[in-house]
């Protein structure tokens, strides 16, 4: 049941609209409910071939020899595609916005880095004939040591997953192995806090589970062009990725999509289009490449698992005064989009609360598993799980109602956020109040009267002074050694340190130099 609370923030809205705000039936409803909407796989083209992938059976191995001789002679086989057939067999998705280094082949050549990595593509008249040919392909592997745990992967001597990033972490700003967030002085905050609580949170990798699995059909068109029916979530991302990998101008392709059977982030990676088009180029026939359910679940990219450590300082009256976070994104064997999520995660700290001292280190780590990708809430879902479980524990620790505890710490209009921008248009407090009302959860008067539009700004708008350099170094050195106490909700009482005079602010860091690796808004321009 959905209730529109028009009474709240009514003075900020014009509700005299004709069409907006109406529950008009969807334009595509009739097609969807009668099963007549056209999806990519509804294009059954004459002479269409089927492409299937031979995948690695090892999580990390050198490829000694790939023998496709028997498979090439197998009935119905039109073409065997190897890494050498791919014009530009190395890419990273966000190279289109000038972020990151090409690190992933379309078909593995010397080495495989995860179980299920594509090695050979078989194009045949029927799926059955493709599978029969796949069984005749012999691959000699030389197994290599593997690493699956994000913290193990960062230790000296850990197996190198992806040679593009020899330290098993994505490189930020050409110099750091993580994304930083620094605001105020967390160590001073912990010193002043009545309670300090550090906890560890571990997410699980999950599947997008769309009804329609990833796939595409590519067909030669007239005048040297190719038409591509696709389930992509990002049409021009896919067009430009294919143009790069296949080394042709982007207007070689006519992509058609837009009606998709569920995405949730799992159809951003342009997994099938490059090989379907290459298959069409090499055979002159339409080629269909669609993931089966097992492929979608295990080798299509999942939501990666994050591991998060949070250390908070809280006062007896419930104010959170310091939050320190160390987070690891398990990117799997290649970057895909996890590098971007780590930055988004850092921007999200410390959650929707005004906390005067915040410290974050977010790592994008490579391991020998299926590359992770975007999924609903990318970069934020895991951090929200950790922060909100932590907030519940803190409320419990100081003996406060968890709803009132959140209202007390909620950000309000005019507050300074940890990424150094003023909070505007906030509404956390009102959401908590309305949810409490709906759940018949009693709040005390002062919390019922609280407002996102009141009591923000002022001293809460200030950027707090950073720690002195010596403190910062001590913090950096101890950060890696932090041990985690598994005892649930264990509160560690630390003696308050004498407050220190505020040091002068350091000179502002220089802006990134022109051409440094960073996001670019110029989509489609590869390098500037």
């Amino acid at each position: 049941m959905l209730e529109l609370r028009k009474d709240i923030f009514a003075d900020e809205r014009d509700d005299n609209l004709k069409e907006i705000g109406k529950g008009t039936q969807r334009q595509d409803m009739l097609g969807h409910v009668t099963g007549t909407s056209t999806y990519f796989d509804d294009h059954k083209l004459q002479g269409m071939l089927h492409l299937k992938i031979v995948r690695s059976t090892h999580s990390h191995a050198r490829l000694r020899r790939i023998d496709t001789t028997d498979a090439e002679r197998s009935p119905g086989v039109r073409r065997i595609i190897r890494g050498a057939d791919v014009p530009r067999n190395l890419n990273t998705l966000l190279s289109l916005i000038n972020f990151g280094i090409d690190d992933e082949p379309t078909l593995a050549v010397d080495k495989v880095r995860y179980t299920g990595e594509p090695i050979v593509a078989v194009v045949a008249d029927s799926p059955r004939e493709a599978y029969e040919a796949m069984a005749k392909i012999r691959i000699d592997y030389e197994a290599l040591p593997t690493v699956f745990d994000v913290e193990e992967a960062l230790k000296p001597g850990a197996p190198v997953v992806n040679e593009t990033y020899p330290k098993n972490t994505f490189t930020y700003y050409d110099k750091y192995d993580h994304q930083k967030l620094r605001f105020g002085d967390v160590e001073r905050g912990f010193g002043e806090a009545d309670h300090v609580l550090e906890q560890r949170y571990q997410m699980s990798p999950i599947e997008h589970a769309p009804t329609e699995t990833n796939g595409s059909i590519a067909a030669p068109d007239t005048n040297g062009r190719y038409v591509v029916y696709t389930s992509t979530q990002a049409l021009f991302f896919s067009v430009d990725t294919c143009a790069k990998i296949l080394d042709v101008p982007s207007n070689t392709f006519h992509f058609i999509g837009g009606t998709v059977g569920g995405g949730f982030g799992g159809k951003v990676d342009t997994i099938t289009e490059p090989l379907a088009i290459l298959g069409a180029m090499l055979t002159g026939r339409p080629v269909r490449y669609m993931l089966g359910r097992e492929e979608e679940m295990q080798y299509g990219p999942p939501r990666g698992a994050e591991r998060i450590y949070i250390k908070d300082g809280v006062m007896r009256d419930g104010r959170v005064v310091a939050r320190k976070v160390r987070a690891y994104f398990d990117s799997g064997a290649y970057t895909r989009l996890s590098s971007y999520a780590a930055v988004k995660c850092a921007a999200h700290l410390p959650g929707p609360y005004t906390i005067p001292n915040v410290y974050g280190d977010v790592y994008c780590v490579f391991t020998n598993r299926t590359p992770a990708t975007a999924m609903r809430g990318f970069g934020v879902t895991a951090m929200d799980f950790a922060i909100e479980c932590q907030m519940d524990k803190l409320a419990n620790l100081v003996g406060m109602d968890p709803m009132e505890f959140r209202i007390l710490n909620a950000y309000r209009d005019g507050d300074m956020k940890a990424h150094r921008r003023e909070a505007k248009n906030t509404a956390l407090i009102e959401c908590v109040q309305v949810a409490a009302e709906k759940a018949k959860w009693p709040l005390r008067d002062e919390f019922r009267r609280a407002s996102s539009r009141k009591d923000g700004g002022g001293s809460r708008a200030a950027i707090p002074p950073p720690p002195r350099d010596a403190d910062a170094q001590r913090v950096a050195a101890s950060q890696q050694r932090t041990t985690y106490d598994r005892a649930p909700a264990a509160a560690v009482r630390e003696a308050p340190a004498a407050s220190q005079p505020s040091p002068p602010p350091p000179p502002r860091p220089q802006a990134p130099s022109h051409g440094a690796t960073r996001f670019s808004s110029v989509f489609g321009t590869r390098r500037r």
Binding site: V150, Q202, A209, G258, A305, A347, T381, F385, A435, W441
Partner: protein, 340 residues
């Protein structure tokens, strides 16, 4: 065997659009000679209703009935550039682009109507039912169809518009993380009530109550389908799903929906939702975007409710019966917290 009930809450916010901006979308709007409009996009409708929301935005901006607008999308030959449907960006980014294109088209339409009615375009208004009339004089009117015919065959005007929306790219300070990640944020708070069986460790959902603040519910029914479905995706993430049950060990991965657990019809519970609207300064009619964030509060709310029910904290997902049971045993039995 005892079943213990508990309630947990979580409150969250969520940034709208690609982090750091720099993610443009374009739209084209044009009328055919009968005054029926087509919106050309390359954005994707994943089933969430992107086509319908942009159609309503276009109709409202043009001032014509929604039936007179059709959204054609995702053809790279005819649709102008869009980054894609992800990052909760379609409603906000594409919606703004459609609004800009519709404004331009409306400008031409009003000029053409003014010429037919021999008045100043500034004195005209649309009635949203397919007519343009002089302000305060509804009887002096012309239908959008007649305007389109006149524009096409008599005046030689194209009733069309181009729109783009771009949040400028933000730099990131490598040392402090100073950045402009997003221009607006949606908000939510969710209360989950669960029942935990202390003999089996099983967690059953009893009910959910929530409040979501979305800037503007452009189509409340589409909002409802997102919020209901999204909350269940969050519950499923909290209690059921994993592609690697022994993570970080990668063995025993599920291969189909028999092995990959998700809640079924027998597992769902009532969910009572309130929607708040605090318009975003740069949102189309103030809209932010409900897409991703609706799943997020469910995960921690469920974990916190389990603690309230039996006194155990499970900080590793998914919260399986095995983990709950082991934790209950480790603390020597269920320890219900004060009922809230």
């Amino acid at each position: 065997m005892t079943k213990h009930r508990g309630r947990g809450i979580a409150s969250i916010n969520y940034p709208i659009g690609m982090n750091l901006g720099g993610d443009p979308s374009q739209a084209l709007v044009h009328s055919n000679p009968s005054g029926k409009f087509t919106v050309s996009l390359s954005s994707i409708d994943l089933g969430q209703g992107m086509k319908s929301v942009t159609r309503q935005i276009c109709a409202e901006t043009l001032g014509v009935p929604v039936e007179d607008v059709y959204v054609d999308t995702a053809d790279s030959d005819t649709g102008p550039h869009c980054m894609g449907s992800f990052a909760s960006r379609a409603t906000h980014r594409v919606g703004n682009a459609v609004m800009a294109a519709a404004k331009e088209a409306r400008g031409v339409m009003m000029e053409a109507a003014a010429e037919e009615l021999e008045v100043n375009a500034a004195d005209l208004e649309t009635d949203g039912r397919g007519n343009i009339h002089i302000k305060g004089a509804p009887h002096r009117s012309i239908s959008t169809k007649d305007v389109a015919i006149a524009a096409q065959f008599k005046q030689g005007k194209t009733i069309s518009g181009r729109g783009i929306f771009l949040v400028p790219l933000s730099d990131v300070d490598p040392e402090t993380g100073e950045m402009s990640p997003a221009t607006c944020y949606a908000h939510a708070c969710l209360v989950a009530e669960v029942e935990v069986d202390d003999e089996t460790g099983e967690v059953a959902m009893v009910r959910m109550d929530s409040a979501y603040e979305l800037g503007r519910a452009l189509n409340p029914r589409l909002v409802e389908q997102q919020l209901v479905g999204g909350a269940w995706m969050g519950v499923s993430h909290a209690l059921y799903e994993t592609t690697e049950p022994y993570y970080p060990d990668s063995s025993h991965g599920p291969r189909d929906f028999v092995e990959y657990l998700m809640p079924g019809p027998g597992d769902i519970c009532p969910h009572d939702i309130a929607v708040l609207e605090r318009p975003a300064a740069d949102g189309p009619f103030g809209a932010k975007g409900p897409g991703e964030m609706c799943a997020n509060p469910a995960l921690p709310a469920v974990a916190n409710a389990i603690f309230n029910a039996v006194g155990v904290r499970i900080d590793e997902l998914p919260i399986t019966p095995e983990k709950v049971l082991r934790a209950i045993k480790a603390q020597g039995g269920a320890r219900s917290q004060p009922r809230r």
